[in-house]
Symmetry: C2
Subunit: 347 residues, 2 copies
DNA sequence: ATGAAAGCGCTAACAC
DNA sequence: GTGTTAGCGCTTTCAT
C-alpha cells in the first residue's frame, strides 16, 4: 500500500482491562471465556472494566495462540443464486449460534477461481471449509487434504467425498420424477435438457430419466436440448409437438424451461395436464404462481447448510461421532401440471 | 470445548520455508509480499521452498502484527433475499480483486441481533464494516464510532450517514413512478402499501407518492393496504375496483403485490393498461415474464455492493480521496402494464 | 538486499 | 481461583 494508508488505531486490550479491574490479564481472559471459572467478585469487576473501556476482544490474537480462528470458509459459485444463498443462510443460522463466523468466497463457476479463492481463504486458517460437491480440480483436493482442514462437500451426494458430505442424489430425482409421471398416467415421456451446457447434476437427472423410462415404459430416451431459459422451454415444446405428438409428458431439467413449456402449451392450445403433463426441478417461485401450477422437485437448500454446519460443529467440538455423509433427500411437489386423473387419461 | 476437541495441526510456517530456502524468515516474508524487493536468486529459492513444503501463509499471524486483517465485515438481514445476495456478490466481486475477504453476518431483520452479530464480527478486526442503512440501534452507531472502523451504510441514501453511504432515494422512486404514470395518462392513482408492516423505505415511497399526486394531479392520496404478497395484491385490486372505479392507475409498494394486481385485473376483465395501469418496485423476475410485462423500478443492487467495496478500498489504500456518499439512482423500467397510448386514453 | 530483535494481543501450560 | 511465563507466526523496525 501507499504512504497514506490508514494506520488502524490501537484498541483497548486485555491488559488495559486487567489494569482497570486490578487483576492479571489472564484472569480477564478467563472471566470472559468461562465466567464460572473465576470468583463472583472478580467477574463483576472485570465486567465493569470491560464496559467502562468499551473493550472489544481480539479474536485474531486469541486465535493465533489457540489455533482456533472460529471461522468457517465457504466457497460457492455465486451468492446471486437462490440455491447457494439459501445454503449459506442455513450455514450462518447454525454457525453463529456456536460462535463461528463465515468467510465467503465466490468462484463464479470457474474451477481455477475456486482453487485460487479457496487457497486465499485458507490463509485465514478456517476451522473448516464448505464447498459444493463437484468437479473441483485435483489440486484443490490435494491442498485441502494437506492442510488437513475438515471439508464438507454440499449439494450433491457423493460416492467418494473428500471428507464430509451433505446433499441429495440427482439420480434419485430423475427416477422419482419419471415414476411420478408414470403413476399419473404418462406413456411417452420426453426430457428437455441443456445440451452442451449440461453439468454433472443435469447429466445425473437425464441418465436416471433414461433408465427409468426404459424400466417402467420400455421406452427409449427422447431428449430435446434447449437453452436453460423460459424461451428455451418454449422452443423445445414447439419441436416436441411437431416431431413426436405422441409424447404425453415432459420432464424438464429445470423449472425455467418447464415454465416455458407451460406457456407454449397454453398458446398452442395443448391442454396441461390432460393432453400433456409437465414437471421441472428446483421449485422456482415462478412455478408456484403460474397456472396450472408446475409440478417440481424441491431440495431442502437451507437444511443442507444447517446440516453442514452441524457436522462441522460436531467435528470441531467434543462430540465427533456424527455421520460423515448425509442424504437429505428431496421432495416431488405435485401440482396441477401433472394432476391427470384416470378420466383425463382415458380421453 | 470438551476432551476430544480436534487439536488443529501445526502448519508449515515461514521459518520452515526459510530454513529450506537457506535464508531468514524475514527474507521469505519479503519475497512473498514484494517479490521485487529481493534478489532474483532469492526469490526463486523461496518459491521453490514454498512449493516443496506446500506452505500456506498465515494471515492471522501477519494481521496481528500489522493490524491489517484483510477482512471486511458485512451484516445484512438475510442472505436469502436476492436484494442482499446481489449486494454481497457485488462486494465480493471487487474486494477479492484487492485481496480482501468478506465475513458475513445476518441479523434476521432484528436490530438486537444486528447489534450482537456486528459486535461479534468486530472481534475479528475487520478493516471496514458494511451494513444496510436503517434503523440500527444508537448503541451500534456508538460502538462503530468508538472502534473507529470505516463503515459503509448501503441501500438507502442517508441524510446523516455514520460514515460512508451508497444507495438511492426511495422518495425519488415514489416521485419518478408517479410522474411516469401521469405522463402515460393516469388521472387518478392509488397506492398499494403494506399497512402496519411498513418500513422506512416503504414509507418514503408512499410519502413521495402522496406529494407527487398532490402536485401533479391535485389529488389526495388513496392508499390500500395489503399483505406484501401476490394474494395481497389481488385482494387490494378487488377492493379498488369496488370502492373507487375511477382509479386508472395503481402504484404498488413492491412487485409481488403488483403481480397480484395484474393477475386479478386479468380475471376481473379489467384491461391493463387501457383501463388500468400498474407499476411496482424491485424488478422481480416475475414481472419480466408475466403478460403484460410489469412496469417497475430497478435498483442496481450489485452495483451498490461494488461501489461500497470501491469506497472501502480507496479509504484503506492510499487514495482516500473519493466521495463519502454516492447516490446510485435507479431506473424506471417501462413495460406493457403502463404502455398506454393517447388512443387508449381517449377511449 | 538481508538479517536480528522485538512484539502484536492473546491463551496454553504450569505454578501456587 | 489466580498469576507467571512463554510463545502462536508473522511483520515492524532498525541495523548492516
Amino acid at each position: 500500500m501507499g504512504p497514506a494508508a490508514a494506520k488502524p488505531a490501537r484498541h483497548t486490550n486485555l491488559t488495559d482491562v486487567a489494569r482497570r479491574a486490578g487483576v492479571s490479564s489472564m484472569t480477564v481472559s478467563r472471566a470472559l471465556r468461562r465466567p464460572e471459572s473465576v470468583s463472583e467478585d472478580t467477574r463483576r469487576r472485570v465486567e465493569r472494566a470491560v464496559a467502562a473501556l468499551g473493550y472489544v476482544p481480539n479474536n485474531i490474537a486469541g486465535g493465533l495462540r489457540s489455533r482456533r480462528s472460529r471461522t468457517i470458509a465457504c466457497v460457492i459459485p455465486t451468492i446471486a443464486s437462490p440455491v447457494f444463498a439459501n445454503v449459506v443462510q442455513g450455514l450462518t443460522d447454525v454457525l453463529y449460534g456456536h460462535d463461528y463466523r463465515v468467510v465467503l468466497g465466490t468462484s463464479n463457476y470457474s474451477e481455477a477461481e475456486e482453487q485460487r479463492v479457496t487457497a486465499g481463504l485458507l490463509a485465514h486458517r478456517p476451522e473448516a471449509v464448505v464447498l459444493p460437491a463437484g468437479d473441483h480440480r485435483r489440486e484443490l483436493g490435494r491442498l485441502l487434504k494437506r492442510v488437513g482442514v475438515p471439508v464438507v462437500e454440499i449439494w450433491e451426494r457423493l460416492e467418494n467425498p473428500v471428507d464430509m458430505n451433505v446433499g441429495f442424489s440427482n439420480r434419485d430425482v430423475g427416477a422419482a420424477v419419471v415414476t411420478h409421471l408414470v403413476e399419473r398416467g404418462a406413456r411417452r415421456i420426453a426430457f428437455v435438457g441443456m445440451g452442451a451446457d449440461e453439468h454433472a447434476r443435469a447429466r445425473a437427472r437425464r441418465e436416471a430419466y433414461a433408465e427409468t423410462v426404459a424400466r417402467l415404459l420400455d421406452q427409449k430416451p427422447i431428449v430435446f436440448d434447449a437453452p436453460f431459459t423460459i424461451d428455451g422451454g418454449r422452443a423445445a415444446l414447439a419441436r416436441i409437438l411437431r416431431d413426436d405428438p405422441a409424447i404425453d409428458a415432459v420432464f424438464c431439467v429445470g423449472d425455467l424451461p418447464a415454465v416455458g413449456v407451460l406457456l407454449e402449451a397454453h398458446e398452442a392450445g395443448c391442454a396441461v395436464p390432460q393432453r400433456l403433463m409437465v414437471a421441472g426441478f428446483g421449485d422456482h417461485e415462478f412455478g408456484r404462481q403460474i397456472r396450472p401450477g408446475l409440478t417440481t422437485v424441491r431440495v431442502p437448500e437451507r437444511r443442507i447448510g444447517q446440516i453442514a454446519a452441524e457436522m462441522i460443529v460436531g467435528r470441531l467440538g467434543d462430540h465427533d461421532t456424527g455421520p460423515r455423509a448425509i442424504d437429505v433427500g428431496f421432495e416431488v411437489i405435485p401440482r396441477d401440471s401433472t394432476a391427470r386423473t384416470q378420466a383425463d387419461d382415458s380421453g
